[in-house]
């Protein structure tokens, strides 16, 4: 399918579902302070551990705070975590990958071996290691998650660059004696975007999962924050009495991650018709 035809083709059901889920969640996150039915951080001992009811749709937690309102505010934190961390991975990983793929030789070797070292430790342990040196805060967690996923982005950027480096338009730019940074950022990067954007959109869900796991382990958002990972961690002690406090943010996170995955996979198939025909076959 030529690109023009692909642009006009109807969106696949997968892509539609992803767009709707992510769109609604983003909208809820943006509007959270205005649509939250109760204050998210006001402690009220009279309303502790209320199961879901007409006033508190998702019940209340151990401090009598409305779970739904906390969930809505927490949406912003999860989205910020996913987007912020991925932006960091892209901002550092893409230039590294471009340089490695374009200059080859010892630059490539040095950068990719450094990536191997970072990838030799499971992501969550690398994140724990980075965060061990500093008092926890959510922005530091986002930074750590971003750093953890640099190698994967750099590797992809490198392989895309390798495949583009011998194209005629790059040779033409070289023949015009353009500088390396011009070729990298003005010639290669604009052509490398589609696969990078697809990968980045899937990375957002990885970042949300890793970030919430770190928050869950106490190395991210701190109380009274309503970060989803932290909400689940705090609700752990009350699973026998009030399971809804933990289940609500858990389901919310699943929905968000599924939405992002549908969006990313759908976009990948749309941008890479070869893959689509292989899957459909």
């Amino acid at each position: 399918m030529p690109p023009e035809a692909a642009a006009r083709a109807p969106l696949s059901p997968q892509l539609q579902a992803g767009l709707i889920i992510v769109g609604v969640i983003v909208l809820l996150g943006i509007l959270a302070p205005w649509i939250a039915p109760h204050p998210w951080d006001t402690i009220s001992m009279r309303t502790r551990f209320l199961p879901p009811n007409a006033t508190y749709w998702l019940g209340t937690d151990e401090y009598g705070r409305d779970v739904l309102s906390r969930l809505l505010i927490g949406t912003r934190l999860s989205l910020a975590m996913g987007l912020g961390a991925t932006a960091i991975s892209l901002a550092i990983g893409v230039p590294i990958g471009l340089a490695a793929g374009y200059f080859r030789g010892w630059v490539d070797e040095a950068l990719m071996r450094a990536a191997d070292v970072l990838m030799a430790v499971p992501p969550i342990m690398l994140g724990l290691l980075f965060l061990a040196v500093t008092p926890p805060a959510l922005w530091k967690t986002a930074l750590a998650v971003g750093l953890v996923y640099i190698p994967q982005i750099a590797r992809l950027a490198r392989s895309v660059t390798l495949s583009l480096a011998n194209e005629e338009f790059i040779q033409a730019a070289r023949a015009r004696a353009e500088g390396a940074s011009y070729i990298l950022f003005r010639e290669i990067l604009p052509n490398a975007w589609p696969p990078l954007i697809v990968e980045a959109s899937l990375r957002v869900s990885y970042a949300i999962l890793l970030g919430s796991a770190l928050s869950f382990l106490g190395l991210g958002a701190q109380p009274p924050s309503s970060d989803w990972g932290l909400m689940i961690a705090e609700a752990r002690s009350f699973l026998d009495r009030a399971p809804w406090i933990a289940l609500a943010p858990g389901f919310a996170m699943c929905l968000l991650v599924i939405g992002i995955n549908l969006l990313g996979d759908g976009a990948r198939e749309r941008l890479d018709p070869r893959l689509k025909s292989r899957i459909a076959a």
Binding site: V117, D240, M253
Partner: protein, 318 residues
């Protein structure tokens, strides 16, 4: 083949040296004063200085690293600052617990994942296929700690079948030992099933349409033989590679699962040593995990080469 393995092992060793430098560099940044940890928070400053000098904490960092690495290579992993025990047996004990958990989960993931993938592929496009696809999509989307919560709520709180956490030594009897293992194992299986089953499905679908499967069918072989003896053998290739990678991923997954279920394995030890600034334990535990991770990757590559005659013979001929 031997030369290839040797080269890879050298590379792994180099990566581990680099990881050890990274770990050492980060842990020296830790805001934990070892001298104060040993002497207590109210130690007089001159005593602290004397001890720091004795421990070599005033030396340049690279000297400290070389001393640490040298001791590490001689098998002296230092002393846990928190538990006042040598680190080596502490870490090995935790590794043993983790391998039991990860090994059981891994075996289940391999068997169930491949079976689900094959079933979905054979029912390609039918309701059963979609059910499996949606279930595995959930598996990828749900964070491990949420699976853990669901397992606890369902099996420990509602049904009351399993303890919510804990660990019993094997000497306490098989069922006492096995019972607390079930919930963390289930959690890991749910969380990691998807990769294998999805990959098996897609490669199985591809293989089932290849000419040689058509030829096998045309010969009049029963479908069972075509599927199990002809198609599955080739379709398993990518699944086995991803399985070996999954073992590495499991070593990351156990961090959260062990913490939730209070299971005394390597992952919990890492979290515990970070929370308590127990640097020698942290260094040893992370290096051990990195070594396992790297070996799992090597095994993945070797299995792929070993199982794929094209690659195997190509390399031997060269």
């Amino acid at each position: 083949m031997a030369a290839y393995i040797a080269r890879r092992l050298v590379l792994i060793a180099l990566v581990l040296v680099a990881v050890s430098i990274l770990v050492f560099a980060i842990t020296t940044l830790l805001p934990a004063n070892v001298a104060y940890l040993i002497l207590g928070p109210f130690a007089p400053p001159d005593q602290v200085q004397a001890l720091e000098h004795k421990l070599g904490l005033t030396d340049p960092v690279w000297q400290q690293y070389l001393r640490w690495a040298g001791a590490f290579l001689r098998g002296d992993l230092g002393e846990s600052t928190l538990m006042n025990r040598p680190v080596a047996p502490l870490v090995m004990e935790a590794l043993g617990h983790s391998l039991v958990l990860a090994g059981t989960a891994f075996a289940l993931i391999a068997v169930i994942g491949i079976a689900l993938g094959v079933i979905a592929a054979l029912r390609h496009g039918r309701p059963l296929d979609h059910t499996v696809s949606i279930a595995t999509y959930l598996g990828i989307a749900v964070p491990e700690f949420f699976w853990a919560i669901v397992v606890i709520v369902v099996f420990a709180v509602w049904l009351g079948w399993l303890p919510a956490s804990g660990y019993e030594p094997f000497s306490a009897g098989f069922s006492a030992w096995a019972k607390p293992l079930i919930a963390p194992t289930l959690t890991l299986v749910f969380g990691h099933l998807a990769h294998v089953s999805r990959l098996t499905r897609s490669s199985m679908i591809e293989v089932m349409q290849s000419p040689y499967v058509m030829a096998a069918r045309a010969k009049g072989l029963p479908e069972r033989v075509v599927v199990l003896h002809h198609a599955l053998r080739n379709a398993l290739l990518p699944a086995i590679t991803v399985l070996a990678l999954d073992f590495g991923r499991l070593m990351g997954g156990i961090v959260v699962v062990e913490t939730i279920f209070a299971y005394p394995g390597l992952g919990r030890l890492v979290v515990f040593s970070i929370q308590n600034r127990d640097i020698p334990t942290l260094q040893a535990a992370i290096l051990l995990v990195a070594a396992i991770y790297a070996c799992a990757n090597l095994v993945a590559d070797l299995l792929y080469a070993f199982l794929n005659p094209k690659i195997r013979f190509g390399r031997d001929a060269a």
